[in-house]
Amino acid sequence: MGENILFGLLQVFEWKHLLAMIAGVSFGMIIGALPGLSVPMGVALMLPFTFGLPPTIGMLLLVGVYCAGVYGGSISAILLKTPGTAASAATAADGFALTQQGKAGKALNMALYSAVSGGLISGFILLLVAPQIAKFALSFGPPEYFALALFGMTVIAGVSGKSLGKGLVMGCFGMLIATVGIDPIDGVPRFNFGTNFLISGIDLIPALIGLFAISELLNQIEKKTKALSVKVKYEKDRFGWSDYKPHTKTIFKSSLIGGIIGAIPGAGAAISSFISYNEARRTSKDPESFGKGSLDGIAAAVSGGNGTTGSTLIPMMTLGIPGDVVTAVLLGALLIQGLKPGPELFTNHGNLVYTVMIGVIVVNLILFVQAKLAIRWFAKITQIPSSILLPIVFGLCLLGSFSVTNSLTSVGITLFFGVLGYILPKYGYPVTPILIAMILGPLAETSLRQSLILSEGSYLIFFMRPIPVIFILLIVLLFVIPLLKGKWGNRLQRA
């Protein structure tokens, strides 16, 4: 492990890797800061352009977009009270209150210091924990992988919100889509309807660009979002150790909360940010100031959100299950590069894994430098008119999906999924389960059939080994708790 870390450290400081991280951080900050453009959208948008790059460069670029994007969300939350990401919603009240008091610089600096602290702690958690889990997962056979794939599907419960039933329908629909193409064991073409372009299955990149980028653009167009005409006054504010020191305890605690929550599939930055904010308010000597311009509130929410950025990569890299939407997209990036996420990634591509893990730490340092230099320009970024922005992003989306296979079929798939991603949520159907199922579907099918071949058709194989049993119990728990919570909640409300 020591050797790998050293190798990763040397690799990450190569100029091409540094350049990729710098580019990713710049792009991520802009995407995060622009209201209406989300982090998954930013990562999905960049994904096709990493296709032709070596895997390490591509992954570092995307990690840069991810970490900086989560931080970027707090910029518009502070300056415009419009959270750029769901995770930055908790930052909006305190941040904007400070902006109104003429302390936007202080709020932005606090957000930056907290984001970087959270990201660094999370990066170290990733570096320490991930190799141990990967080592443990090396003993997994097909039954364990099947149980794991099902466990990964529990993320659906987390991302479906109140409509778990609809989320499951979407998950099942996504699995059906994943079966299109050549069957993984017998090599028989399925559901290609006599066409050639469906034989290799439905490409992940065009689908996810459609689901997360085109759909988002259509939503913005429907709202006819105009240029944000709010004029924000930014005055240079000194910010140093003396400003940071009173909040170190909150930042450390919130970063740890983020580190733990991020590693749980389905939880993610938004949940962590709100839990950290509530925890800081609960333990604060001055809880009344929260929501009215508390720097401690900003520190808790931002470090809680960015504290997940490294740890969400733990289940993705070690077990091949996406922790949230962004990691589902990142997982897609690995698959597209021909790399199979999971314990084998650590044994077969150890160099890449350690470079990326150390990259998470370095990305946060780059984010600090870049954001510190760009902080005075943030107010301008948030005012880019949507009439200019939306067509450019549209063009990039279509171009990105085209460049995957050099064919217009991919563009058609993008548009199909884009319309789907726009219509379905309107009626309460979440689209993230489609992507999660498309990623986990092939793993679930292959491991299920391999297990049944091994056991000569007996389903007892899943109950005779300890790891699948543990996963099955966890699955039951994770699906039953939200259902019971809903029922109890309703009863309590009625009472």
Binding site: F51, C172, L176, I185, K226, S387, I388, L399, S403, K426
Partner: protein
């Protein structure tokens, strides 16, 4: 459309997709005598699961009261129409860069605010379209993508 009707229509569309899927998989003959190792095995499980989940959701949707969902279709319809038009003209003419410029210019114009200085808007939109098209060109050249 009412959220209740929308929800039911969506579920019915998914069920129809599932039935079509089931019919399609049954057209192909099996590769194995064992049910579990056959390539139809997993899709069939998914089909029954999908129908089961859809029925539950359908039951819930019928019980639930609907709310009116307002959608501003005008601009959306224009955008989708333009997108399809752009792709079709790309297929038939092959003038990718010219079409990209025209497509972007139209989008910049229809998304922009009306009532402003028209001459200035046109100049800004043309300039932005040219710059974006050049950006697309350099990006595609960098990625060695043939259009």
């Amino acid at each position: 459309m009412n959220s209740k009707i929308g929800s039911i229509v969506t579920l019915l569309a998914i069920v129809s997709f599932g039935i079509f899927y089931f019919w399609e998989i049954n057209k192909v003959s099996s590769t194995s005598n064992s049910i579990s190792s056959d390539f139809k095995f997993f899709p069939k499980i998914l089909f029954f699961l999908l129908i089961f989940l859809c029925l539950i959701s359908l039951f819930q949707a019928i019980k639930k009261e609907g709310t009116k969902i307002e959608v501003n279709f005008k601009l959306l319809a224009i955008t989708v129409f333009l997108l399809v038009g752009y792709i079709l003209s790309w297929i038939f003419t092959g003038y990718f860069y010219l079409l990209t410029f025209v497509f972007l210019f139209i989008l910049f114009t229809i998304y922009g605010e009306r009532g402003k200085n028209i001459k200035r808007s046109i100049v800004v939109n043309v300039a932005t379209s040219v710059i974006t098209t050049l950006l697309v060109y350099s990006l595609l050249s960098f990625l060695s993508v043939q259009v």
